[in-house]
Every structure is written in C-alpha cells, then in structure tokens.
Amino acid sequence: MLQSMAERISVEQVAHVARLSRLRLTGEELERFASQMAAVLDHAADVASLDLEQVLPTSHPLPLVNVLRADQPGPTLSQQEVLAAAPEAVDGRFSVPSILAEAP
C-alpha cells in the first residue's frame, strides 16, 4: 500500500479518472491537473502512511441511524414544475439523445 503512495499520479491515471468523471481534458489540462493533483496527494501522504489498522472509519459526525418518516403521502412538486427546469422534455418525460447506437 505504501509503495503505491510513493508513486506520483501519472498523466495516464488522470486521463482515466477524467473519463470516469465524464470530463474531457486537453493535453495541457491533463499535464497541469496531474501535477496539481500530485501535490495534494503528496500532502495526503501523512494520512495515508499512518498505522490506523485498529481505528474504525467515520463517515458521518452524528450518531443518527435509520432516519425514517411515516409512509404518508404529502404534497410534492408537480410534474410540470419539475420538467420546466429540464433542458428538453417530451410527452411529460425528460428527453435525452439516443442511449444506444443505431443497429448496424
């Protein structure tokens, strides 16, 4: 684990992460973001290198669990109000470009 810490994030890794993030970067942006992200990850090495084997993770500062309300219907936004914000809506639905390519 520690060995992977010592490696700097590469331009190829940043390109991979950009693809996962649905972002397109230019060659210049890839180089610049790679060096900036490496600086942040270098700083994070103090956390990454600690021995915290016995420590439980904290995902949330409050001890609240299973917050549920009664299953009673109440007023909601209308379909019209919600679709009014959409870039494109057709027949009461959100509309998007084709999801699957045309069959060959």
């Binding site: 684990m1 103090d46 420590v55 500062p61 609240l64 870039p87 084709s98 999801i99």
Partner: protein, 509 residues
C-alpha cells in the same frame, strides 16, 4: 454600524418602515456593488414586496417576527423559489429552483427581507471567491485583495453594509475564513443544527449553513431563527436547539479554555498576537486559560482534501444535462454528459471531482478514502479528549490576513492551506465562530476562532461576546472602493492603519 437587532426593533415598533430600510440597502448595493461584486443577482422588486408585507403586518398590529425588515443576503447555493440559484457555476446558469431552502422559509417567516444572492467559489470549492464562474468578489477593506471564500460575497456584503445579515455555508471553513478576512462575525453551527434542505450539496457529511453578522449578538439572533429540526433533512438533529441569545451576556467566569498550539502555529505574527490577546481577555473575564496541544489537528487538512472531494465527486454526478441546468448536445447521451460537464464546470471543480473519483477508485479506495475516514475518527477522538479538560478551545481562524487577488489561484495546495485551522471543526461536526479582533499593520482585519463541542453554541457565543467586547475591533471599510464621482462621502471614512492602500478598481464586466 446599525445592527440587525436595531433594525428589527425599529421596524417592529413602527419607528421606521421596512420598505425604507430595504430601499436604503438596495441603493447601497446599486452604488457599491459595481466595484465589489458581492452579488450574483439582486431582486429589487421581490425585496420591496417582502418589506411591504412586513410594514403591513406592523400596521395591522401583527408581529412580523424577530428579523422584521432586516435585509439579508443569501449565498447563491441556497435555493430560492422563483429566483436563480447558480452556485457561481455555468452548469446552473439560468436555473430557477421550484422550491425554497428551509432556511429561506424560516428567514422569511421571521420577517427578514432577502435582497439578493451572493457570489461564491463555484459549488463552494475554494477559499477566495476567485473560483466563481462570474468573476471574483473584492475585499471591501482593500479591493486588490480577496474576501476569502467560499462564502466571500456574503462576508463582503455584510462588511460593506449592503446587507445587515447574510447566510453562508461552511464545509471546511467557508463561513469562518471569509468572515475573518472581511472583519465580520461568522459562525459554523454544529452539524445538523441547521437544516441543509435546499442547500446545494458539496460534501454532505461536512456542509453546514450559518450566519454572517457585524456582531456576535446578531449572529446569535440569526442562529435562533434558522436552527431546529427539519423532517426534510435526515441529518437534522431531532432535539430542539438551546436558547442562545438569552445567555449571551453570562460571561465566562470559571470556563476552561484551551489555546491550541496546532491552531496557531504557522500563522503570521499579527494573527498569533491576536490569539494571545484574546486569551488574555478571556482570562481577565474569569476564564481559566491554558495552552494545549491537539496533534491530530494536523491530520485535518490531508483527510479533508480526500473526503470532501470524494463526497463532491458523488454529489456532482447529478449534473448530467438531463434534468436541469446546462446541456451541451452530443450525438449520444454519454457524449452529451461529457460535453455538458466539460463546458459547465470550472477548473477547481474539475480538479476536486477528479481527486475524489481517484480517492474512491478501485485500488486506491482503502489507501486514500478509507484511510482519511479513519483519520477523521482520530481527529474526533482527540477533540473528545480535549473537551474532557476544556469547555472551549481558542485558535486562529486563518493563517494570514486577506491575500492579493490572483496570489494563490495557480497553486491549489497553497489555497487549501488557508483552511488549515477551520477544517478540524468540520471533520468533527462541532460549532466554531470567527470573531474579528483588530486590524493588522496593513489595515486588514485579523480574527480569532472559538471552538466548542457539539451543541455548545450557547457557550461558544458567550465567550465570543467576551472576546468581541475586549477586542480593539475592526473599523468599517474606508470606502476606497467607491467610484470617484463624489459618492464616496456616503461611507464613513475612517483611518484603518497607515499601510492601507486600497486602490479603486473597476467592477467585473
């Protein structure tokens, strides 16, 4: 400077009209905001309409509420029904929310008048308000310098008298740091104390809404209005919040205060000196004050810059060009998603989304995200141990006074270091307040920070009151940002130290 409490008192008693108060503040925005750029939108007719309702309530003998006629500014990541909410991002440019955030409903119910939505770092990611897609905000004490961030517009609007109160959001210091740099009071309440319903999410386990004010009492007044359980926010604390205002002048006799080395070290000399003076003031008021160490605080910055981007990468996945906001067309849906996000997000948001995606990705999850979550436990445990010995902790809010615009934008790590003293409270979910202490040699505000355990707002603000009363104080901005057409006399001109060299500056285009 007129306080919010004074305004509400005068309006409720019929001594002055809410419409007049709103008009005066809207005129001031017209006059000053060309230079400072605190606001992304100003709703003049909406504000005057709300003010008129307040005046009608007073005339009819009904109580318009504790914030009657008080002009408030809202950070532009708080949803306002019918008026744009942009998060200072192109990706939400033109979006009009169909609902109000809970805090906005509560403010209106209390008689407050919303004058406008304030500038911020895009999606609250930044410490200088320079990452706004619509141009930076200037610090009213020196327009060549940043107001801090991410809630820089709210801080500068209150500091320059364009609003009596403002709301911001604080994920890693985004209320307290700009409050410090602009010379106003800024409070981050306990996580869960204020509903996040209608706050556009950045890092959901860290985000918290809180007030900006020109006095501790005004911050307490606003907190009492916005605090409380909200069934629409599942992380909202179910119990009723304790009264704050009623206990505000109870003093700090016998209160144990720890001055935390790690929350001062590395700060500039004038910041260090302010913390020492505030510690002396608390001791003089009867608190027992001693120096202490919480080494785990040093882990805060690293853990935060893994956890917050990780949560952000997940929260910001919703901006896909389908349901709201910007869409940039493409031949298929994925190409449309990519084109939309690439055009809609600025560099800092892209960096954080990618950092977070990396920290969560297969092969790195345990080493980065998992490890940072464990470091968060270490910080929480260290605070818990400290609060066995102390009731409150004292430190600096920001390591330096306001830095020049453009100074840190090329080096994200140097920008992130602005939050080194504020982040630990977000990780712990604890309340903390920044209180102006004085102006430094360069004429810029210097502040101190008081921290307490969860739900300790009453004690934190009592101590803040003591600090405020003992502080030399920060005079209002000298007004060098005003256009040189004779309107300058509208602001009281006060000497703010020999080094003040605020240059007149053209407003952003």
């Amino acid at each position: 400077m007129t306080t919010a409490a004074d305004i509400a008192g005068s309006v409720r008693s019929g001594q002055c009209s809410a419409v007049d108060v709103a008009t005066a503040h809207l005129d001031r925005i017209d006059q000053l905001d060309r230079s400072l750029h605190c606001f992304l939108s100003v709703d003049r007719s909406g504000a005057l309409g709300e003010a008129e309702l307040v005046d009608r309530a007073v005339a009819a003998g009904r109580d318009p509420g504790p914030l009657a006629g008080v002009p408030v500014a809202l950070k532009d990541n708080l949803c306002t029904r019918g008026t744009p909410t942009t998060c200072a991002s192109r990706i939400l440019d033109g979006w009009v929310p169909p609902y109000d955030a809970t805090v906005v409903e509560l403010l209106r119910r209390a008689g407050a008048v919303v004058v406008g939505k304030t500038n911020m770092d895009e999606f609250a990611m930044g410490s200088s308000t320079e990452h706004s897609a619509f141009g930076p905000t200037c610090n009213p004490h020196d327009p060549s310098r940043v107001p801090g961030g991410s809630s820089g517009g709210s801080a500068a609007a209150v500091a320059s008298g364009m609003a009596a109160l403002a709301l911001g959001s604080d994920t890693g210091g985004s209320i307290r740091q700009p409050a410090a740099l602009c010379g106003v009071v800024g409070l981050k309440p306990t996580y869960g104390m204020v509903s996040r319903y209608g706050l556009v999410a950045f890092a959901s386990s860290l985000d918290q809404i809180g007030p900006f004010a020109t006095s501790v009492a005004d911050a307490a007044l606003m907190l009492e209005v916005i605090a409380g359980h909200d069934p629409r926010d599942s992380t909202s604390i179910p119990s009723s919040p304790a009264a704050v205002l009623a206990r505000l002048s109870d003093g700090v006799q016998g209160v144990r205060v720890g001055v935390v080395d790690e929350l001062v070290e590395g700060a500039s000399a004038e910041v260090v000196s302010a913390v020492s003076s505030a510690a002396e003031a608390l001791a003089k008021a009867g608190a027992s004050v001693e120096s202490t160490r919480i080494p785990a605080c040093r882990l805060g910055l690293s853990a935060y810059y893994l956890l917050a981007p990780a949560e952000a990468s997940s929260n910001l996945a919703r901006y896909d060009g389908v349901r709201y906001g910007l869409r940039v067309d493409g031949p298929d849906v994925e190409a449309m998603n990519v084109a939309t996000r690439t055009a809609g997000f600025g560099d800092e948001v892209k960096r954080r989304i990618m950092l977070g995606t990396f920290a969560l990705s297969s092969g790195y999850y345990d080493a980065y995200y998992g490890q940072a979550q464990k470091a968060r436990t270490v910080v929480l445990d260290a605070f818990a141990a400290a609060y066995e010995r102390f009731d409150l902790l004292l430190g600096a809010t920001a390591p330096t006074t306001a830095f020049p615009l453009g100074d840190r934008t090329a080096d994200p790590m140097s920008m992130y270091l602005s939050d080194v003293f504020t982040i630990p409270s977000n990780l712990a979910g604890h309340p903390a307040v920044s209180v102006p202490w004085t102006t430094g040699g360069d004429g810029l505000p210097v502040a101190v920070q008081l921290l307490g355990p969860a739900l300790a707002e009453p004690l934190v603000l009592r101590a803040a009151s003591v600090v405020e009363a003992s502080a030399p104080g920060v005079p209002p901005p000298c007004g060098d940002f005003l256009p040189s057409d004779g309107t300058r006399s509208a602001l009281p001109r006060q000497a703010v130290g020999s080094g003040s060299d605020g240059l007149p500056r053209e407003g952003p285009a």
